[in-house]
Amino acid sequence: MPYRLLPDVALADIAFEAESSTTAGLFESSGRAITDIMVDRKTLVPRVKRKVELEAGDIDRLLYDFLTEIIILKDVDSLLFKIFSVKTDGNHLSAELKGERINRVHHKLRNDVKAVTMHMFGVRRTGKKWAATVVLDI
């Protein structure tokens, strides 16, 4: 399961739970989830490449910073991404994102995500899987 929306959490906002067998996969699933909330990813073409390098004290903060970086790239450079390739050891992240500049005619846009909240936020290991719960401010 890449991710699922949690419809009964924080009514004015949108929450999702992502899951993967690897931490890199968890970050990629979370990147796709936040983007799907902003746009129909099928309408994006991977024309532009962006590298993202991040470091944080723990995997929670690393995911918080990664998702915040996607929001910043949307606002500052008007970029939304279709493809997420992530390498991470839990404290350092190296990602290559492929997408394009927002085009109001070609892209089916949805919600403008304001921020990643810390409400219920966290990464956890359950058995052989990694999972994360994220509530986004809309």
Binding site: A12, D75, K114, H119, I138
Partner: protein, 485 residues
């Protein structure tokens, strides 16, 4: 949700949750709601308002207003005041959209004059005021000008021909709050904000053409003070905030506070309640940055209103002044402010957090602009795009009971995901048109999420606050044209 047995009924519209409800509560919590609203409130509201009651230095009570719903950290519709020496400041008690607020302007036009032009007006304003995901604003400023905006808000607008002479005095705090410190704002926040001046945003943000509802014109004498003189008078309401600028300041400091709490030996029940002592370096830095975002939000609403005036002028071939398009008022509903209040037999400056709550200062308060001081502060309560909005005034009882605070809107009862499953945007747009509301939306998904059925009955919310005596109804405003971000 059934009211738990240990809730104390204060009146038909007020409930107290005693300190014994949850371990660690420093003060009781107060919920304003009719039995019907309380029964319909999600359990998250009660958990969150009682979590707020556990925060260090909170004074008197933690409040959930009648529109309260499950937010993150604080409930939306929450109010809490903190001792400035012993208390904390919490970004989660303000929200990421710092100084999200409502602005109401009047016209001297009747609906009969505007009705044939509603579509033209809405289409033009939709072009003039960018809305939706990732849009850039129409006001381009240099880094130095952006610093001035952070410090001086609407005062800067007035000095740069972007405001009418009486605009600043009709905005809460005169359109700028003192204490802004641009040096505490990150490079990322600046980058997100500098291009977003003059954007409406997304989510529940909107710009609406409204009409004074003859059937709910509650107090015509009070309304005269706001220049609202007749039934079917056309008004314009704007709901938006500090955009990516405020969102990034909130994110930056939430992360800082999350790390700093160990240092201050603070424990909270929800990470989103991350906080720091107000008197600490982190607390002071956040306050200085947060005020920058508040002043940016005042500016954003100001420049949007200038565009609305331009649009009316173009469509009606008259200057906006001749249509009396003056500001009624502009209120913040996501903010923390230093205010002097009397409580528990003392009078002191406290830090009042309002997250989805409106200041409701009563008659005679010196912070109310002179023309309104005798009657109380205008309180603008925005409803869903289908059900309309309300104008109220602040009361002395609000000063005595809620640190001069009341509700801010109708409050959601249905999640965005559930709303989209219930109705399609295009169908909603068609149904609204049949009911005389022309709506233009940045996205159809966003439109469906804001359907009236996803919200509480705003009339019940307003009636509750009126009966509680913490704000007084003046008039209801019926939507006829809506731009949805």
């Amino acid at each position: 949700m059934e009211a738990p047995a240990n809730f104390i009924k204060i009146s038909d519209v007020a409930w107290e949750i005693p300190k014994s409800y949850k371990e660690g509560m420093n003060v009781p919590a107060r919920v304003y709601a009719t039995k019907k609203l309380l029964d319909g409130m999600d359990r998250g509201v009660i958990e969150q308002v009682t979590n707020v009651a556990c925060l260090p230095g909170i004074v008197r009570q933690a409040y959930a207003m009648a529109d309260a719903h499950w937010g993150y950290g604080f409930p939306i519709g929450g109010v809490a005041a903190f001792d400035i020496e012993k208390g904390v400041i919490s970004p989660g008690g303000i929200g990421f959209d710092i100084n999200c607020g409502m602005r109401l302007i009047r016209t001297n036009l009747s609906y009969s004059e505007v009705e044939p032009k509603v579509k033209e007006l809405v289409d033009l304003i939709f072009r003039l005021v960018p809305a939706g995901v990732g849009v850039k604003g129409f006001l381009r400023v240099s880094e130095a000008q952006f610093d001035e905006i952070m410090k001086y808000g609407v005062k800067w607008c007035a000095e740069n021909d972007l405001a009418w002479e009486d605009d600043p005095s009709h905005v809460e705090e005169g359109g700028f709050i003192k204490g802004a410190d641009p040096s505490k704002v990150s490079r990322q926040a600046r980058s997100r904000g500098i291009d977003q001046l003059g954007t409406l945003g997304s989510g529940n943000h909107y710009l609406e053409i409204q009409v004074v509802d003859p059937s709910r014109f509650f107090d015509k004498e009070l309304a005269k003070n706001f220049g609202i003189l007749h039934e079917d008078q056309v008004m314009v309401m704007v709901h938006c905030g500090s955009r990516g600028f405020g969102h990034q300041i909130g994110s930056d400091y939430l992360r800082i506070f999350d790390g700093a709490m160990k240092h201050y030996n603070l424990f909270v029940r929800d990470r989103e309640l991350a906080c720091a002592p107000f008197s600490s370096k982190e607390g002071t830095d956040y306050y200085g940055a947060m005020i920058c975002a508040a002043n940016m939000a005042f500016t954003n609403r100001q420049v949007i209103v200038q565009r609305v005036r331009d649009a009316f002028s173009k469509v009606f071939h008259r200057d906006a002044e001749s249509m009396d398009m003056h500001l009624v008022y502009d209120v913040c509903h996501n903010i923390a402010k230093l205010e002097k209040h009397s409580y528990d037999g003392t009078s002191a400056e406290v830090l009042v957090h309002r997250k989805g709550a409106t200041r409701s200062f009563g008659p005679g308060h010196p912070d109310i602009p002179a023309p309104y001081r005798r009657i109380g502060q205008p309180v603008i309560i925005g409803g869903s795009m289908e059900t309309g909005s309300y104008l109220l005034v602040g009361t002395s009882k609000a000063m005595e009971e809620t640190f001069g605070s009341t509700a801010h809107g109708s409050g959601r009862t249905m999640s965005r995901t559930a709303a989209k499953k219930t109705i399609r945007g295009a169908e909603l747009q068609r149904k609204m048109l049949q009911r005389g509301i022309y709506v233009k939306a940045a996205t159809m998904d966003g439109l469906a999420e804001e359907a009236g059925m996803a919200y509480k009955d705003i009339s019940e919310v307003v009636e509750t606050m009126d009966r509680a005596g913490i704000s007084k109804k003046v008039v209801a405003l019926r939507p006829v044209g809506n731009i949805k971000g």
